[in-house]
Amino acid sequence: MAALVALGAAPVAKIFATMEEGPIPAGINPGEAWLESHGRSLGHFVAGTWLKPPGRMSLECQEAATGRTVAVVPAGDSSDLAAAVAAAAAAAEAWAGLGGPERGQRLTRLATTLDSDRRGTMGALLALAGGRPLCQTLGADLDLGLRLLQVPAGGAQLGLPGLEGWTPLGVVAVVLAGPCSLSALLWKLGPLLAMGNTALVLSSPAAAPPLLLLGELSGEGAVLPPGVLNVLAGPPGLCQALRAHPEVTSVTFLGAAQEELQALVWGSPCRGPRLGGPRGGRVVVIVLDSADLDSAAAAIAATAATPPALFPWGGCVVLAQDAVAVALEQRLRARLGALRVGDPLDPKTEVGPLPPGTPPPEGVVQEAHEEGAQVFQVPLPPLPEGGHRFYPPTLISGAALTSCCLREPAPGPLLVLLPVRSPNEAVAVASALPQTVAAAVWAQDITVALDTADRLPQGLVWLNALDLLDPSGGCAGGAMDTDLDEALREFGCPPWEQPPEVDEPLSPLVTADDPGDPDLAQAVAAARGAAPGWGRLAGACRARVLRGAAAALWGGHGTPKDGGSGDTDGSLRRALLRWAARVERGGGAVQEVPGGRVLVTRRPLGVVGVAWGWPRPLPLELLPPALALGNCVVVAAPPGGAGPVQRLRKALVAAGLPGGALMVLPGNSRGSGSRLARQRPDGLWLCGTDADCDWASAVSVPRVWGVPAGLLGAGGQDPPSRRRAGAGAALHPPPLSVAAGRGSLRPPQNAPNLRGFQTSHCAPNPRPPPQ
């Protein structure tokens, strides 16, 4: 007994009374050991070696829980950036030339290295820098991250059919604009490297150590050739210097809010960087009255404690049906009270500190309290450094719909509980909540569950589960989903795309205080009104409309009735008929993933705006696919050019197209792209001169395409079909990009046209054998 007391253990009787868990004997922290081995002073990782520019100011990397400085990195500046871009550009051709299978193998080797010996180091560094508890970073996060490396690698090895002829972009910069977990980074990096691009990662000093370890691992044993993966640490403004480098063909921002993206892009000469990246958001959990409340409460509490790896920002909004709201709240309070808050490096901890750089959501909670909501907070246990970087798990119930805690995602372990009357109301509220990336529906009644999941606008919907993420099934990025094909396409250049020619920078054409455009606004509003009805029609009905239009236009004889300005002979008719057949076949897929199945269904974008300017002819063949797949199109045509489109419209309306589904607006074409973008359609085609659109307004549009000039040039052949076949099963309007000519526009690549439901109706492991 005396010996035990001397060891510092509590007396046995006391342990039996409190039944508290003992400390887990901590060995050497492998993360700290790695930092020590570098003398706590890291550099940039460029061209396969460490780059430590002499005499540079250092920035501190701080531990998330206590604020203690664990390492220093040099403050990157434009010369470092230039060196990194040069290294990446030099390595780009060789890396692309290796070929898909070889690249896949290299990436698999990187994943294996990460898995085997350095797992502990990576997990410890992630916990140290980011504040996510060790049990998550060593477990689910790292597993997901490895799969995110291996699945695209596998895809590149197999040579996916939809990607024939796609070439890599070149040098791609990934800017971590905020707190970001390894999985979120690898979700972009995996497909990026697998497609043959070289990567340049710019991160903030707080998040740098794990990324530098990743760089070092890629250099060890020449897993990746030098220059393929470069990591730079620097102050937040460093990414502005990217504009000076035309070799950087694409920029992906991770963790940036939309306003920041706009600020970065406004007024910048658009030299070609393709923007893209997931935006922060929350998970909406809908608990209906036929749900297993205990399991739902357990899962929700676990999600509040450590948010899912791919979207670690926003917390959780729980919509509970009236009949079960009180019982669910009781269970949630019990579960939140049992969460263990502590040092993230302790394997027992479930709730870590707030990610570095995020302010605690004190204001939000205070406001909720003042508005009269009940706020349940668990008192914090004694924590290192007084715990000012931690925030206690909180449950807010009884908040009004307009309350601050619902308007924006608040970081930290914050749950907001709202009672709803029925599944309909739940769907309405879930659609109205801003910035939600995923949803979960808990209900044992399968019809209700599937129907509710069907009507939700979120790209990723879980059924009776939370946080089952698998890259082959579909991961959420922003409010949208990408599956493997699309993730790879995002970093590739389709065979029909011409390389960009960069001449002069574009300048914004329409300033912020231009008067609005009432006709355009009305047309877009009409299209929005028609969109749900048109989109929900069965494929066969839409096919009938298209076939009817084809028959009406050509009377079934195959000869055009009019001169067909700008319309090659019969190709419009062929397009109408082909897409009618295509949409009748239907689509969607079921993928099997560990833990369940994913039902992947594709939905129409919504309202697509077409900005058409002289002197380019509008390729009318592009309208049938958009309409066939259930979108509504608003065409802003130049004066005198609307004739053929109006004829097509009349034929379609006569065949049964709802009135708002295709709207044509004659009028001024200057800046039509910007004006359309201002109306916030779900997709935007720019078919005109390049001065038509400025980037700042285009940032708010999920998908932007430009139509290449040579589309209609190849007479005789059937260019659209080849392109559509090349787009694989892509059902969205053909992803043509690049308007040739001055400047080059590359679209932001987030598309809400792929929705997956992840269901877990099968248990993850088989039943244990009878004993």
Binding site: E21, A296, A763, P768
Partner: protein
């Protein structure tokens, strides 16, 4: 609810609203496994003896001085959904036990689904059991973590509704000290520290004792005991 509150009516409206999501519970159990912690009478082991025989056994056992009685419910009543019948049976056994401590064995391996386990647990508690026990230890499938989780959630719900604390005893299939510690952690997570006392939580195991002795031996001496150095279990 009737058993402990004589005078109130049996109310079964909640039966149709019991939902248990098996995959989620199994996932939860898998997660927990990864963490670094009776005088028998009345129908033993199959519960298929007629009710009169069960009641006679109980009365005789109480007469002979038994202070703890374990009864096994008729699984056919659960599988056919005769909840009033099940309640009546357990209530009669409770009456026959008198002041003796009664454990109700649910034979969870035979009940078919986790939802049935939940419902049977609630009925057993409503009828006045002091402990609910997963199995006799002689069935094919005994105490597994998913079943334990569901029964503990039922106990918690009963406590919230009535204020009575009913104990839990998993029996059968627990062979190693590590499993036993995992059960302790599960009880702590689902029910709370108040349940971690012998009055409210017991483990039914026979070979477990030998394994615990081995582990204690190892922690004290640094090596495992040879076969002859420990008592025969």
């Amino acid at each position: 609810m009737a058993g402990r509150n004589p005078g109130t009516e049996l109310e079964l409206g909640w039966i149709s609203k019991v939902y248990v999501n098996r995959p989620a519970v199994v996932r939860h159990a898998e997660q927990i496994k990864k963490w670094k912690t009776v005088k028998v009478a009345a129908g033993f082991p199959s519960g298929q003896t007629p009710l009169e025989a069960k009641l006679t056994e109980i009365r005789l056992a109480v007469e002979y001085g038994a202070r703890e009685i374990d009864i096994v419910i008729s699984r056919s009543l659960v599988l056919t959904g005769q909840w009033e019948g099940l309640y009546e049976e357990i209530r009669l056994c409770r009456a026959a036990c008198g002041e003796a401590h009664m454990k109700t064995i649910l034979a969870t391996g035979e009940l078919g689904s986790l939802a049935n386990v939940y419902k049977a647990s609630m009925i057993a508690m409503m009828a006045g059991s002091d402990f609910i026990k997963t199995s006799t230890g002689k069935e094919v499938e005994n105490a597994t973590f998913p079943v334990g989780i569901v029964m503990m959630r039922a106990i918690k719900e009963y406590y919230w509704q009535t204020g009575y604390k009913v104990g839990f005893k998993p029996a059968g299939g627990i062979r190693t000290a590590k499993e036993a510690i995992t059960w302790l952690m599960l009880v702590k997570e689902e029910l709370g520290v108040e349940w971690l006392t012998p009055e409210l939580f017991r483990l039914g195991a026979s070979s477990l004792l030998g394994d615990i002795e081995q582990q204690v031996f190892y922690h004290v001496t640094g090596s495992y005991a040879l076969q002859h150095e420990l008592a025969m279990a």
